[in-house]
Amino acid sequence: MSRIGVAFDKARADGRAVLVGCMPAGFPTVEGSIAAMTAMVEAGVDVIEVEIPYSDPVMDGPVIQKASDIALAGGVRTADTLRIIEAVAATGAPVVTMTYWNPIEQYGVDAFARDLAAAGGTGLITPDLIPDEAGEWLAASDAHGLDRTFLVSPSSTDARLRMTVEHCRGFVYATAIMGVTGARSQTSDAAPVLVSRLREVTELPVGVGLGVGTGAQAATVAGYADGVIVGSALIRRLLEAPDLDAGLAALRTLSAELAEGVRNPTR
């Protein structure tokens, strides 16, 4: 079983959900992003999702766009992302990579899978790669023992849910709303429905993302999902802080609040 699978099993045994925290690689700098992700782990985030910054992130809202732009303007390269993954994996927390497809295609799909596995990454979340187009990635992830997390959406048909989970390994990513990333004031009504539809077709753990930003929201989502995925709310703590130290402190506070939330699921 993959290291992600182990983390989900352990949380399930403890009667809680896994907390997945997302941060773009190289934001605000390469070293700063390693410090941020380490702080998140120390404050109770179970799984770190490292997003490879991309020039045209169509699934991301303004917060992640801005953080990605800052990372790219700072000159972060795909090779730096692998270095960051290696450093964060050394904390002992499982590290999953979130990436748009073109950076992987340009690096070389098999080469990236090989180097990601060597860096200690567990697999990829692919927001703009659907299984229909993923032949090369299916082969490379098999060859290098990596997990594959494809996204499902409230608009996915039953047939597509079945097809998509057949191609997933590790966990499935359920997008809670029809929209892009970014914290929202209310949790989604569509997400519990989507998760129960997934339960009909898979035993895989289900992580829910998009729009979660507070401990209370994390507790609500933990009531029906196996994983709670938080990105924009965490990243905003760094974006809005006057300096890195203040940002890291704010990041720790929110991480701890979210970690408390996933431990107290609202059922």
Partner: protein, 411 residues
């Protein structure tokens, strides 16, 4: 129409939208249901007599097609070829794009959607989309890079006059590619009641195939008009290529006519050997952008590089996937045309024919200058060239006026 000869021997793309290794769907899962719905409605429409009759009537009575094929004698004499201009510049709204928006607006109505969104660079597609939305009583939101809203204030006003909401996009490079990103984000969030009226033959399947089919009348008409006018097929068909809809529109009918050469002219900007151009095929590499695999301007990490062209309509770092495939198969040839070459051809057409072309279309005219001597030598006679004059130059008068230094100071 000549359906017997314009139907290619094998169907392209395949049923998943692949043109060889290009095309496909690189999109969030959230959009797949909407793309499947669009594909189904579009396929049904293309064999539905009622839809086809309605589309044909709109093209004739509203858009003013078929457009003329005009033998440009004085321009021909200057370039050493018999040049036949496909006068898409005379269509309502001033370009070939009206064909695409009318087709997609009809489909929007069939899907029961009440809102359309569009991206625009110079504003031409935004104006066309706003026009169709007014005609079909649809809500219309146009995303436009902030840089472009400043450069093209007149078109912003035009869209607003037609009842559209123009949203300036302030992310990334604040130009066309970012407007497209923002339109995709809107679509993901509002896909239930909204159709994304893409302006060119790019994006995820079925857009490239569908947009091509809505504009293919350009080539169907031109092929018949050329037969009627000259008694034969042309030696070559020429068009400018940004996203590539006008070129595919005129190429499509000629693809099975293997003796007819197809030429696409990309925006070479300050030269493809500089970092200021928009030539995705001749100066880029294969990658994934905006939902499809195609040729892209990108760095070694797959980050999109900003494009440059004097023509806002060609200023885009990707190209429709069918062009990538026509390039790989060798069926069409792609060459860059610099800003300077395009503006020289722009001036030549103004002065010899009294026609002010869009700067986009001037790239195809400059292409005539590039290929005419070599074709004449090859054929041993004056070549016959059909050129897509895809749009008129009213929108470019300020840019051209500045370029040629003919504006009075206060202008």
């Amino acid at each position: 129409m000549s359906a017997d000869v314009s139907t290619p021997a094998e169907r392209f793309p395949d049923s998943a939208g692949h043109f060889g290794r290009f095309g496909g769907r690189f999109v969030p899962e959230a959009l797949v249901a909407a793309l499947d719905e669009l594909d189904a409605v579009y396929r049904k429409a293309m064999t539905d007599e009622e839809f086809l009759a309605e589309f044909a009537a709109l093209l004739r009575d509203y858009a003013g097609t078929p457009s003329l094929l005009y033998s440009a004698e004085r321009f021909s004499a200057k370039v050493g070829a018999r040049v036949l201009l496909k006068r898409e510049d005379l269509n309502h709204t001033g370009a070939h794009k009206v064909r695409n928006v009318l087709g997609q607006a009809l489909l929007t109505r069939r899907m029961g959607k009440r809102r359309v969104i569009a991206e625009t660079g110079a504003g031409q597609h935004g104006v066309a989309a706003a026009t169709a939305a007014a005609l079909f009583d649809l809500e219309c939101v146009v995303y436009m890079g902030e840089v472009d809203t400043e450069r093209q204030a007149l078109n912003v006003a035009r869209m607003r006059m037609l009842g559209a909401t123009v949203v300036p996009v302030t992310t990334g490079s604040r130009t066309l590619k970012d407007a497209m990103n923002e339109a995709m984000r809107d679509w993901v969030a509002n896909v239930d009641d909204t159709h994304y009226l893409i302006g060119t033959a790019a994006g995820p399947h079925p857009f490239p195939e569908m947009v091509r089919d809505f504009v293919r009348g350009i080539g169907d008409e031109a092929r018949q008009q050329c037969l009627d006018l000259t008694g034969g097929l042309p030696d070559a068909v020429l068009a400018c290529v940004g996203g590539g809809s006008n070129a595919l529109g005129i190429f499509h009918a000629f693809v099975p006519d293997t003796e007819v050469r197809l030429y696409g002219f990309e925006a070479g900007g300050e030269g493809v050997d500089t970092d200021r151009h928009a030539a995705s095929i001749t100066g880029g590499s294969a990658g994934v952008l905006h939902g499809a695999r195609t040729y892209v301007l990108q760095n070694a990490d797959g980050q999109t590089i900003e494009s440059h062209s004097i023509s806002a309509g060609l200023d885009y770092p990707g190209v429709g996937p069918e062009h990538a495939w026509l390039h790989d198969t060798g069926r069409a040839r792609y060459q860059p045309v610099t800003d300077r070459e395009a503006m020289a051809a722009f001036e030549l057409l103004c002065r010899t024919e009294g026609i002010i072309p869009a700067i986009e279309s001037a790239h195809a005219l400059a292409g005539v200058v590039q290929v005419a001597p070599q074709l004449a030598a090859e054929l041993g006679r004056e070549p016959v060239l059909v050129v897509n004059l895809s749009g008129r130059g009213d929108k470019d008068v300020h840019t051209a006026g500045e370029y040629f230094g003919i504006l009075d100071k206060e202008q």
